[in-house]
């Protein structure tokens, strides 16, 4: 798992790469929390290069969503690979996240 951040307009964009699983979800959560704490930006997680997620990874997405909603900040997800989208669908996560096809759409919403 690799995580990089970029700031665009009023959004902090997180680019997640590779596998988000039991071996690294702690690190993912820690880095996300730290970054979220640095500003009042809304957040986009660009999932273009995320090719695997397990329930530990889904936990971090849900925790991030709860945290940002509590602070009235938006969380948008985008560029999800079909296999990952399927896992979000099965888990009922597609209903609780705003998922966009592209980063441009996520930025406009």
């Amino acid at each position: 798992m690799e995580l990089q951040f970029e700031k665009k307009a009023d959004y902090t964009i997180a680019y997640v790469q590779g596998r988000v699983d039991t071996t690294n979800y702690n690190e993912f959560e820690k880095k996300m929390s730290e970054k979220i704490g640095e500003s009042d930006d809304s957040v986009i997680i660009n999932c273009k290069d995320m090719n695997f997620i397990s329930s530990s990874g889904l936990r971090v997405f849900l925790m991030t969503q709860k945290k940002l909603m509590g602070a009235k900040r938006k969380l948008h997800l985008c560029n999800m690979q079909p296999a990952i989208k399927e896992i979000f669908d099965i888990s009922g996560f597609s209903q609780i996240f705003s998922i966009y096809d592209t980063e441009e759409e996520a930025l406009k919403s």
Partner: protein
């Protein structure tokens, strides 16, 4: 009928090894990439539960994973010598709840059940045996 056996130790750092071995098996048996990814998820969920919760001692334990492919049916049997734990007895999370209401966690076993056609559990000779089946 094709058979394959993998065994790992009850350590988190064994999970990448398992993923790798599963990929090799996928190539050998010519399973689709999508299926291998889903099986990887199912195994990670099952094995993580064993690694984190099955043993109270700090000793090393072996986890056995047996794969059998017969016609179009894939059967995976996971055996561990930990405390009795029946994953099939866990209640499904309510996936219709909102983000505020959703509880953190509890999705692993649910995902296993959704991806596989069936999960069966039995306790035999002090071992937990979990049988996962899927038509492929």
């Amino acid at each position: 009928m094709k058979k394959e056996h993998i065994h790992i130790k009850n350590r988190v750092d064994e999970l990448p090894t398992l993923a790798q071995q599963l990929e090799t098996l996928g190539e050998k048996w010519q399973l689709s990439m999508a299926l291998v990814t889903n099986l990887n998820l199912v195994l990670e969920e099952a094995i993580s539960n064993i690694i984190f919760y099955a043993h109270e001692d700090k000793k090393e334990h072996q986890i056995d994973i047996d794969f059998v492919l017969e016609k179009k049916q894939l059967k995976i049997t996971i055996t561990d010598d930990g405390n009795p734990f029946d994953p099939t007895s866990k209640e499904d999370p309510d996936i219709t709840l909102s983000a505020e209401e959703r509880e953190i966690g509890g999705l692993g076993i649910f995902l296993m059940g959704k991806i596989m056609d069936s999960l069966q559990y039995k306790r035999e000779n002090e071992n937990n045996i979990l049988i996962l089946k899927k038509e492929i």
